[in-house]
């Protein structure tokens, strides 16, 4: 993990793997370099993965309070990565940032994969599109996140202070970014029509946060997007089903699927 200065922010940046370049935008849980899917993905792609401002050890300037702000920061990152269009995998909250970013500069991107993204409001004003994760018990949240929650339960007593600090910072920054309007930018859906890149919207079959209807509706906002569901996975299929996830992602990115 390297630290770079970007737009006045001290940013954690992980790079690994070989192949054509790919930008990976993590979700609300933060970036973990030890997730097996990264190694599998790195066999096919050169991955650049920032920890978003306020996540990991990346600093959080006081002007940032929405995912759109982070997309503006990442315009600087794209400049730094060079003129060649880059493929994108963006998960959950990172999917929102990715949607904002691609709506700003679609020409800077090749193919796009959105994994269980949040960021738009599609349903009625009387019903939340995404359950209120800040008003639910932890035992409920883990069931919404995972097909097999018992495999991913963290025991705070086994984590270092630094790991706990990162966990809490990630949670704080998620609250800051997503609080209101909850998990969406009302303007984003109207900005996505210019994102004509080939796009894949992917979710785990048991995702309790992103409903199938929500993802289908989100995908329809992009002119050239399709959807896919991975079995035996929840909200983070890349973690729960790394092999199947990477296989599907590479098939799409390489144009085989």
């Amino acid at each position: 993990m390297a630290t770079i200065e970007l737009a006045g922010i001290s940013l954690d940046l992980w790079e690994g793997g070989t192949g054509r370049p790919l930008l990976f935008l993590h979700g609300a849980g933060g970036f973990r370099a030890d997730h097996p899917f990264l190694g599998l993905l790195g066999e096919h792609r050169r991955i650049t993965a920032p920890s978003h401002p306020g996540f990991g050890a990346s600093s959080l300037p006081d002007w940032i309070d929405r995912p759109e702000d982070i997309a503006h920061v990442y315009l600087n990152l794209l400049d730094r990565l060079g003129p060649e269009p880059i493929d994108l995998i963006a998960c959950s909250l990172g999917g929102w940032i990715g949607a904002e970013l691609t709506s700003m500069v679609p020409e800077k991107f090749g193919k796009l994969i959105f994994v269980a993204p949040v960021g738009v409001k599609l349903g009625s004003r009387d019903t939340l599109d995404i359950p209120d994760i800040f008003a639910l018990p932890a035992a409920t949240i883990e069931k919404l996140l995972y097909h097999q929650p018992e495999r991913f339960r963290a025991d705070p007593s086994k984590l270092t202070d630094q790991e706990l600090t990162i966990m809490l910072r990630n949670r704080e920054t998620t609250a800051l970014l997503t609080w209101e309007p909850y998990m969406h930018n009302p303007k984003l859906r109207h900005r996505l029509r210019r994102v004509t890149n080939p796009a894949l919207f992917l979710r785990g079959e048991h995702d309790g946060l992103i409903a199938a209807d929500y993802m289908d509706g989100y995908a329809k906002l992009l002119p050239n997007a399709r959807t896919m569901t991975l079995p035996d996975a929840g909200h983070v299929p890349q973690v729960e089903q790394p092999e199947a996830f990477v296989k599907a992602a590479i098939a799409f990115l390489n144009g085989e699927a």
Binding site: D62, D65, F134, A135, L136, P137, A138, P156, S157, D161, L164, T165, L168, R169, R171, E172, T173, T174, A175, L176, W179, E180
Partner: protein
Amino acid sequence: MKAWHFSETAYHLLPPAETYESIRVSLPNRHYDPRIGADLYHRYLDEWLLAEDEGLDIMLNEHHQTATCVDPAAPLMLAVLARQSHKARLLILGNPIANRRQPIRVAEEMAMIDVLSRGRLEAGFVRGVPYEISPANSNPMRMNEREFEALDMIVKAWTNHDGPVSFEGRFFHARQINIWPRPYQTPHPPIWISTTSPAGAARVGTRGYVQATFLTGFDGTKQIFDSYRRAWREAGRGDSVPEDRLAYAALVYTGETEAEAHAGAEKLLWYVTSNKVPPHFASPPGYVPVEAGVKMLRGAEHPLSAFAKAASVEAAIKAGIMMAGTPDQVVKQIRAVYDHVGGFGHLLNMGQAGFLEHDETVKGIRMFAREVFPRLQEFRA
């Protein structure tokens, strides 16, 4: 020493606690009978007015979506008291300005009450407890920043008398600030801020506002007051901090006998024991600093939950969050906290809570006002 009668105007007639998840935020209001609620409002107002007759001042506060405090618009309750009382100081502690969207509206409400009461308002401001986040849909991050920016804007609105001025902050904006009425008191009503942390107290001490703290017990209160005094001195406000800058809130019940007092105190303890709140409402992300959050994950106490362990009258007295007994005993208990924390000038008496009935409340107020309160005037730190 001033003493303030305080009630959270609870609606205590609830189903068994095991039948609901939380007394705050999510408890369905079908459990609230507005006919009973009306009687309770009138009763609690009567008790404040009676406290005034006995020479005490009046304090109230605001919470939302909770049976523990059915006063979600404290300025409305205070407006009633501004009209019906005639001599007591009127303390609202306070306006949850980190969660209010329009600071100027708050400035206007407070100015109205100050005028209506002919200058008896003490204007308190709070960040708001964690459970206020969801009812207000308010971001739990950067609350301190919002609170103090809103307060600066309010003071500006109160103290400007020469036509519109503007304010463009990080969170709040107004281009034509020119409130009518302006406050009765000059330059503005006294400002109070409540906090339960030393870091918060330092912010208040720097500014010299009145610092109040709630049920923080012997050591917690000492840390908070010491932090205030340090910040006061470092800001160049002088070596000694006037006692009227510091306030402590406790559960108080005075009886003719110890047995009578403890029976009343037992009912007051409802305030502590009824506070059933699950972690997702009690610990929203960002409410406490990350370092404090790490310590809590390692088993440290939630800063607001220290009092929850004081689930008996004896334990609560020992912790310094309750004063209950005969007049002699209550004077002694207050003195113990007073000496331990280096003195304070305001005792905020939660003299009514839960199942403490009207006649019991009245008796407790009278016993305190007549037999205890005069003796507090001799206290010197």
